[in-house]
């Protein structure tokens, strides 16, 4: 059983008279330890998909199961608890709390878990170390560079040892060099800490570091040739977002 399972997930938005349905009967499996990148034209519903997986938004229909928990069934409050324990969210604009130091920002998620103060300190220090910012612990976000801020954001996302980390264009507002550093960091987190990652990006270089590359276009997933198991090149359609098509997404093989 996959770590993350989406089954028949649909989501539409109303804008006045118009209804936009970026996700229409989508299926997707992500295995534990996967590093999945998700690309696609603007407005196709990539962020929407991340928001559904992280439970900060709800699908109109379909189910999302993460590690056996059907998150689509949880109440808002239960979802918050679930996220605290199981999910890390890396924002494009890092969204650090400006009045808190790097250390305090990273500490936030641990305050929601039952941990001793020693365990808490250890985790925060390890997370800051993992992103190479131990020496910036006492700095406020405004005293950090964009890349450093993003790394604090990443430390905050992994500090609680979540099962899944989602990242929405984590390198979207960084220059090429900083962007590369962050990509390498994410790859290391995936390989060394075995964190399951789902990353949305517009940058094909960033996408290429992932172990599995998906394209989302007009409600369909396309698996790109980065698939290491298959070793094939080019794009192929792996799913069609049509209602009733229950096995729309599956890995080849």
């Amino acid at each position: 059983m996959a770590l993350v399972e989406l089954r028949g997930v649909s989501k539409s938005f109303r804008k006045g008279d118009e209804t936009i349905t970026p996700l229409d009967d989508i299926d997707l499996d992500i295995d534990a330890g996967d590093f999945v990148s998700l690309m696609g034209p603007s407005g196709t519903g990539k962020s929407t998909l991340l928001n559904l997986v992280s439970g900060i938004d709800r699908p109109d229909s379909g189910t999302i199961t993460v590690d056996g928990t059907e998150v689509t069934k949880l109440s808002r409050s239960k979802l918050a608890d679930w996220r605290a324990a199981n999910l890390g969210y890396i924002f494009q604009t890092h969204n650090l709390i400006p009045v808190l130091t790097a250390y305090e920002n990273v500490e936030l998620p641990t305050l929601l878990l039952k941990l001793s103060s020693t365990q808490r300190r250890q985790r925060v220090e390890l997370a800051l170390e993992a992103v190479g910012l131990s020496d910036r612990a006492d700095h406020y976000p405004r005293q950090l560079s964009g890349g450093q801020e993003q790394r604090v954001g990443i430390a905050r996302a992994i500090v609680a040892h979540p099962k899944v980390v989602v990242a929405d264009e984590p390198t979207g507002s960084l220059d090429t060099e900083t962007s590369e550093q962050v990509q390498i960091l994410l790859q290391r987190l995936n390989k060394e800490l075995d964190i399951t990652l789902l990353m949305v990006t517009h940058d094909s270089d960033a996408a290429s570091i992932a172990s599995r590359q998906l394209m989302l276009d007009r409600g369909k997933f396309l698996e790109r040739g980065g698939d290491k198991e298959m070793g094939r090149q080019g794009e192929r359609e792996v799913g069609v977002g049509n209602a009733g098509d229950s096995v729309a997404i599956k890995k080849f093989g």
Binding site: N51, D57, V99
Partner: protein
């Protein structure tokens, strides 16, 4: 998480300071109004107000116009239920309502010492009872006028030597100056030899005050001057009736102050939450429960309100304690004193208002549509 609230307040310290100051000023006024209400309350209730009677000339209101024979006290004493009668000559510098009223009560020094609930904080009874122009001064008057033992104090045609300063369990009494009866009767302009303004009647424990009052009036109807006898509390309330209306109205001012603090703190908190609505969306994305987000907002508003409210209350208590304020008219005064009850009320009101002020923004923060808030630039 508490750090987050404190640091947020500190980040916007100008706004925080302005709000806290506003809350402090409003709670200061609230406590002041409350203390006036309490003073009035004390004047009309309590054993001193309920268990003693004042015999005054019928249809007279200002102390200068009530002139009763001094020997009425002998007749009053014969009535069953009367324990003691103290003839009192009253002199005041101002018959109208005033914030700096000076009221002299002339009575027999021994009787004052034995019947009034006074303790001297300075000076001694001996020099008060032996010197003709000696006076003992209530500590409120002493504070207000800067009087101490040995001072000579003159006002109008009266000039007295301060023989002592007293405090009393009846706060309004601390606005009085006691002299001997004869001294006040022979003051130029009063021409009150053999006459007094009023008789204060102390009742036995089992006496019915209203029955005794009507018996007194009935008995003295045969005398040269008709009287009107009332409980001391009722007498003072009717003497101060204009002020009582005004003070009754002033309690609206107290409510207005509470409303002011509420709207002030609510405005600040709403602004603060709206400014940072995305932060609350981020916190909830991290896993902060909606209820916890609400608690954070409530903590913020409560801190603002409590800090301001307690500062204002403390200032008011200090001002009331050292100011010796009183308002009076026609020889009766209302003392404004600090009290534990008032301090506790001030703190509780601040707490309640703090929570109330945070409710709307707390709900806003707790129910924020996470995705929409995150999409905001």
């Amino acid at each position: 998480m508490f750090t987050y609230v404190l640091k947020t307040l500190w980040r916007h310290r100008t706004r925080t300071l302005l709000t806290v100051t506003g809350a402090a000023v409003a709670m200061f006024v609230f406590c002041f109004v409350g203390s006036v209400q309490e003073g009035l309350q004390r004047l009309t209730t309590g054993s001193d107000a309920d268990r003693s009677l004042i015999v005054f000339q019928e249809n007279r209101f200002c102390p200068t116009t009530s002139r009763l024979p001094e020997d009425y006290s002998r007749k009053i004493k014969e009535i069953p239920g009367v324990r003691d009668v103290m003839p009192i000559q009253v002199w005041t510098n101002n018959c109208r309502a005033s914030l700096d009223i000076v009221v002299f009560n002339g009575a027999d020094p021994q009787q004052i010492q034995s019947t009034r609930p006074l303790t001297l904080t300075a000076g001694d009874w001996q020099s008060f009872s032996t010197q003709r122009d000696a006076a003992i001064v209530g500590r409120n008057v002493a504070q207000r006028r800067g009087l101490k033992t040995g001072d000579q104090f003159s006002i109008g045609d009266i000039s007295v030597k301060v023989a002592g300063v007293f405090q009393s369990t009846v706060p309004s009494e601390e606005n009085l100056i006691y002299t001997s009866l004869a001294f006040l009767q022979y003051t130029r302009g009063l021409d009150a030899a053999g006459l007094v303004t009023q008789h204060e009647v102390l009742l036995t424990d089992d006496a019915d005050p209203d029955r005794v009052a009507s018996e007194i009036d009935a008995k003295l109807r045969a005398g040269s001057v008709a009287t009107k006898t009332r409980r001391k509390g009722a007498f003072q309330a009717s003497t101060l009736s204009d002020l009582v209306d005004l003070i009754g109205f002033a309690h609206w001012l107290g409510y207005a102050c509470v409303g002011l603090v509420l709207s002030l703190v609510a405005t600040t908190t709403v602004m603060s939450v709206q400014d940072r609505i995305k932060e609350y969306a981020v916190l909830q994305t991290i896993g902060v429960r909606p209820l916890r987000a609400m608690r954070l907002v409530l903590t913020e508003s409560t801190i603002l309100c409590l800090v301001g409210g307690i500062a204002g209350t403390a200032l008011a208590m200090t001002a009331l304690a050292i100011g010796g304020f009183a308002i009076g008219a026609e020889g009766a005064t209302i003392a404004f004193r600090p009290s534990i009850g008032l301090a506790v009320t001030g703190a509780l009101v601040s707490l309640a208002v703090g929570i109330a002020a945070g409710l709307a923004p707390a709900i806003q923060a707790g129910t924020v549509p996470i995705v929409n808030a995150l999409r905001q630039a």
